[in-house]
């Protein structure tokens, strides 16, 4: 476990959770950048979802409320609609994903980011989000539950 990252190892998988991010329960991470928030897909979700075939992000200018679809992914296993964890407006999207959606698998907290959102109601909404420790606990419970089912 590094200073910047929590790591959860379950079975043969290791899931990483950066300490400086917030998370929605669906596994969308939020990195604050001034009054903006960069959004992406958590390592746990991308590993569980499998190899990315397509990633589509709503266009710049899209207004979002918490729970609104802001992106969707299609993998070799599943199709997943990703809900926005915040209120805001999309001001940038990761165009690289059009040609290389595998960036989400390769670098989920870096080059695989999905969108940048101008935050509209952050102070009220931040309390409803999970910090790294809480998200770690959530995925630990989920992953261990999956193992017990086997």
């Amino acid at each position: 476990m590094s200073d910047e990252m929590l790591e959860l190892t379950i079975d043969k998988f290791t899931f990483r959770v950066p300490k400086d991010l917030y998370f929605g329960e669906a596994g969308v991470w939020i990195r604050l950048e001034g009054g903006l928030a960069r959004l992406g897909l958590a390592d746990y979700v991308q590993q569980r979802s499998g190899d990315m075939a397509f990633a589509e992000v709503k266009p710049v200018g899209t207004s979002l409320q918490p729970g609104d679809e802001f992106a969707s992914i299609e993998t070799i296993k599943v199709n997943v609609i990703l809900p926005s964890p915040v209120t805001g407006e999309i001001v940038d999207t990761n165009l690289a994903l059009e040609e290389a959606p595998e960036l989400i698998n390769q670098d989920p907290y870096g080059k695989g980011w999905l969108a940048v959102v101008k935050l509209m109601n952050w102070e009220a909404e931040r309390t409803k989000l999970l910090d790294a420790d809480a998200y770690y606990a959530l995925i630990k419970e989920q992953a261990e539950g999956e193992v017990r089912k086997k």
């Binding site: 190899d51 075939a53 397509f54 070799i76 595998e102 698998n105």
Partner: protein
């Protein structure tokens, strides 16, 4: 030149592996039976002497079903040249309307995707053949053509294995 060796994924449990194998069958049995040869990955993994001999010194096209890329890795470890590698996922990205489903029996999308994959493989096979310095001579002599697959069934060609 010797036949181009086609080595597909032999994983089980995922549609993309099935597409890889089905595409390889289409190439080696239907589209280019005279210039290609299917070598089962499972036999390479087992160290089967005939399979290793078949890939040794041959130009191989590998078809991987997932990012583990077992076919490519195993062919390389067997001492063959991976002339080209195709990933089923990349082919699917070029044919998004052909979503594969099913494993033992692919859905229509999967079957069409296998056909599209096979056509991409054939393009590569033809390029390898035409680039071979011996291709003109041997095509004239016909010595390397017309051998076909001898009517062997797909399960038999796959060594009866699928894992």
């Amino acid at each position: 030149m010797s036949k181009v060796v086609i080595v597909p994924c032999s994983g089980i449990g995922k549609s993309y592996g099935s597409v890889a194998r089905e595409g390889a069958y289409v190439v080696t049995e239907d589209l280019r039976p005279d210039t290609t040869q299917l070598v089962p990955l499972s036999l390479l993994v087992l160290g089967d002497e005939q399979a290793r001999e078949d890939v040794s010194g041959a130009q191989a096209i590998t078809i991987d079903g997932c990012k583990l890329a077992c076919a490519s890795k195993m062919v390389a470890e067997s001492g063959s040249t991976v002339a080209h590698n195709l990933a089923v996922l990349d082919v699917y990205r070029r044919h998004r309307d052909l979503k594969p489903a099913g494993i033992a029996e692919l859905n229509e999308g999967g079957q069409k995707l296998a056909q599209a994959l096979a056509e991409e493989v054939v393009t590569l096979v033809d390029a390898l053949i035409s680039a071979s310095p011996l291709s003109t001579l041997r095509l004239r002599s016909g010595q390397d053509l017309g051998e076909g697959t001898g009517g062997r069934g797909r399960a038999e060609q796959d060594g009866g294995q699928n894992a």
